[in-house]
């Protein structure tokens, strides 16, 4: 396919353009994936800790939503 190869060539600048888009995509996807993974891990740990104590934990300076009303 001539059109695809000429598109990838980008008028001779493909070697500069595609790394720009590629590395931007890789780094942004990487920070998103690691952030979501850490959140899931932390939530799992908190859930198992709360199961041990049998009550949801809220920091001392906070108001428990159930107690508010």
């Amino acid at each position: 396919m001539v059109t695809i190869s000429s598109f990838l060539e980008m008028g001779g600048y493909g070697a500069y353009i595609w790394p720009c888009y590629g590395i931007s995509a890789i780094l942004m996807i990487a920070i998103y994936v690691t952030s979501v993974r850490t959140l899931k891990e932390n939530r799992a740990i908190l859930n198992s800790l709360e199961k041990d104590t049998m009550q949801p934990f809220n920091p001392p300076n906070s108001v428990n939503p159930e107690q508010q009303n």
Partner: protein, 242 residues
């Protein structure tokens, strides 16, 4: 003031933030999807720079976000320092990681653009050097923030560093006007309006909006994670004491 105090409660913050996360993610993907399509397939090649101009659509949004994230880092760190606001301290810390990545991407894509256009990967001129200083400020903030056993002291010390470093932001913005530099002057944010054609401006702005929402998206996820980690720490301490 009342508003600042209202969101100082991590649980209340999460109750408001969590439902927003999928919507912010959706807007991010929509803007970046349309933006990328316009940037790669629809927007024209530049009459001087040829196809290489397409680097602008990932370079400029990254550079804008590098400065925007630093500004919001300084505001968050300042609010954390003055009002002892736990959510603001977390926002500052998590913004630093995202901002550092945007700064690195701005430098890297700039280098990949500089080689074909200027004939060099790097030059020690005002715009490039001040952007490199910004990257070091982010790294310094993160290092100082986590350098103390006492998290409060880390937050305080790094907040002061961030505030002093804010002087670099106007230097970056006006470096192209104040000094002779290889970097081209502003063509979007200027007093007499943008000087680039709408066929390039629209994809550029879409990408910039997409990058902004991406920041917000990842920030809220990371803040949720950091607040959860804080609860884990407190629960474990309580277990240890019991």
């Amino acid at each position: 003031m009342a508003m600042i105090e209202k969101y100082a409660n991590p649980n209340r913050f999460l109750r408001i933030a969590r439902p927003l996360i999928p919507w912010i993610g959706g807007i991010t993907l929509l803007c970046l999807g349309i933006g990328l399509y316009l940037a790669l397939f629809v927007s024209p090649a530049d009459y001087q720079q040829g196809e290489s101009v397409r680097i602008i659509y990932v370079h400029v949004p990254a550079a804008w976000m590098a400065m925007f994230c630093y500004t919001s880092l300084v505001i968050s760190a300042g609010v954390g320092l003055i009002w002892k606001h736990p959510v603001a301290e977390i926002a500052a810390r998590e913004t630093a990681s995202i901002g550092a990545i945007f700064t690195f991407l701005a430098l890297l894509t700039g280098s990949l653009w500089g080689k074909p256009m200027w004939g060099t990967w790097w030059v020690w001129d005002a715009r490039l050097t001040s952007m490199l200083v910004l990257l070091f400020l982010y790294i310094g903030f993160m290092a100082l923030n986590s350098a103390f056993d006492n998290a409060q002291r880390g937050a305080k010390a790094s907040a002061i560093l961030a505030m002093v470093g804010f002087i670099n932001i106007p230097i970056i913005k006006f470096s192209v006007d104040w000094w002779n530099t290889l970097h081209q002057p502003a063509s979007v944010i200027r007093m007499d309006g943008p000087s680039i054609h709408s066929s390039m401006l629209i994809p550029l702005l879409l990408m910039a909006v997409g990058y902004s929402f991406f920041y917000l998206w990842v920030l809220l996820i990371r803040m949720d994670s950091a607040i959860t980690a804080g609860k884990i720490r407190t629960l474990r301490q309580r277990h240890a004491q019991a």
